[in-house]
């Protein structure tokens, strides 16, 4: 059994952990920092850990790919795997800490107008006092109540918002930080009562353009949106219109329909839009990498013992 680990983020402690698990699993492991580095004797590799799109689409020997990402929509595209039976697992559950902090940071930057202060300070300008909003005054809706939505809710709770409600496919989530849960079908009922909408949905056909122009307009004047899930979930043009008209007080996007955001996108010039380059769940926080590696090692032992993978993706659901 041969494993390729393709990553530029691992530290010594992670390499050691994976080597130990490989030994237990009776597997041979090879670490590469580029997909072109696969050595000759690993051409029959069975397991890959990493976002190895080239290996996945060319190596028929592959039987399991574990992505260190939470969102694996790019692995669901036809032709992504040379071996159609290849198992796919993800690392959903490791990004909550990082992305929750990002959401809180972006929401507060917008509400407190720190973006404007900061832009002025770059020009050595002492800006004026401006109207600020507070999380404490918000009715928060989490569209998506997976690890990210739940971890965010646990942080947001401490700010004593008016309420936090969750919206998910099942309409069920036993996390006590949600005051109420709704099904996706009830989204139109929830939006008019939402001051801060936090979107952490996976990229699936079901979530594509879920935030339509009509739905953006259902939100109260002066409300805020943060999207850390997938850019495909929002009608970007409608969002830009709602920001430029002042209907929305602000939006923060870490994800976009096309990434990097094209130079000719109108979003660069949209007022009160906070753009970050898909960094909310980047792989620099030790929490994230530690947890990712833990999850892979756990499933490696499952795989070696012919047990089901704990973190296998449901290709029908898309997450």
């Amino acid at each position: 059994m041969k494993i390729i680990v393709y990553s530029t983020s691992l530290e010594d402690v992670h390499v050691k952990k994976i080597e130990d698990a490989a030994t237990k699993a009776g597997a041979k492991v090879c670490f590469v920092k580029s997909e072109d580095e696969v050595p000759e004797d690993f051409k029959d590799v069975e397991i890959v850990y990493g976002n190895a799109f080239n290996i996945a689409s060319t190596y028929k020997s592959l039987r399991w790919l574990c992505s260190p990402n939470a969102g694996i929509d790019k692995f669901l595209i036809p032709g992504a795997f040379a071996n159609k039976e290849c198992k796919l697992s993800n690392s959903s559950g490791s990004y909550g800490v990082s992305i929750a902090e990002h959401i809180i940071a972006q929401a507060l930057m917008m509400m407190r107008k720190i973006t404007l202060c900061y832009a002025e300070s770059l020009n050595h300008k002492w800006g004026p006092q401006r109207h600020q909003d507070s999380i404490k005054d918000c009715r928060i809706t989490c569209l998506g109540t997976g690890d990210i939505g739940r971890t965010f809710a646990s942080r947001a709770k401490g700010f004593l918002p008016k309420n936090i409600v969750g919206v998910s496919r099942s309409g069920k989530c036993d996390d006590k930080n949600f005051d109420k849960m709704y099904k996706i079908e009830d989204l139109d009922k929830v939006l008019p009562e939402t001051d801060l909408l936090v979107m952490s949905l996976p990229g699936t056909p079901e979530t594509e353009n879920i935030l339509t122009r009509e739905r953006i307009n259902l939100m109260p004047r002066g409300s805020y949106i943060v999207n850390v899930g997938r850019g495909s979930a929002i009608d970007e043009d409608a969002l830009a219109d709602a920001l430029d008209s002042g209907h929305l007080a602000g939006a923060a996007l870490d994800v976009f329909k096309v990434e990097p955001l094209p130079q000719d996108s109108r979003l660069w010039n949209t007022q009160n839009l906070l753009i970050t380059p898909h960094v909310a769940g980047n792989l620099t926080l030790l929490h994230t990498i530690n947890r990712n590696v833990e999850m892979f090692c756990e499933d490696l032992i499952n795989y070696a013992n012919n047990r089901p993978l704990k973190y296998e993706v449901d290709r029908n659901k898309g997450y």
Copy 2:
């Protein structure tokens, strides 16, 4: 009994509340938006609500001034009051929500390098992935455990930091969000174990330059500082050196020795320094104004009934 209310922030609901309290207190009240607007028949005014420095320094009739600020150091300067016996109260206790959100926003902006992403986005640039830090990995020290420090700690707790310790004059605070309390004399013991230092001290002779060059150097390499108290508390030149040398990973200042920050200050060009123009506790959040007005009305009834003022400042302590 005549009252002047000097404010540009009050809404109808606040005016009504003050008028009702004045009626109960048997007082006549006049609302002005400029200190020059005092009408002839209020030249013998007894009570002022507002930061009315001119009225305080010229009207001998004044017997009580209530400042809507928490920090009242400017009212302690010799000559601030024409009547030296004038009572002084402040509004410490109303700024916690606003300033705590500001601290969290600034800490996360620095740790997650969103400042850099944002500066790039202003130039339509999709920035690189950068190393991020997390509140979860921080040992947090609150230098100052009044309303601001405590409200911050209650929000920070949800991020599951390694610990939160408080440092105060008495070394005592029964807030359960502090894992441990220290006296100011023990500051040098705490700083080497501090990853995020949150300063919310009043401006007094005791707190002036409390964060010396030596103390900044006691902090671990890669640590962060947020100051929302008074600019006088930090050796600004030493702070700039520690940032430019990379000893500190970041600092966020909302307050400065001289405000507005002078054009020739080296702080404008200091790397990893986040400057905001004294807006952490501005008077736009309804929470803050509501609470301010409530506190004044409470003390107005106390005053009318010859009871001690609940929010009177201890001029010896300076807060």
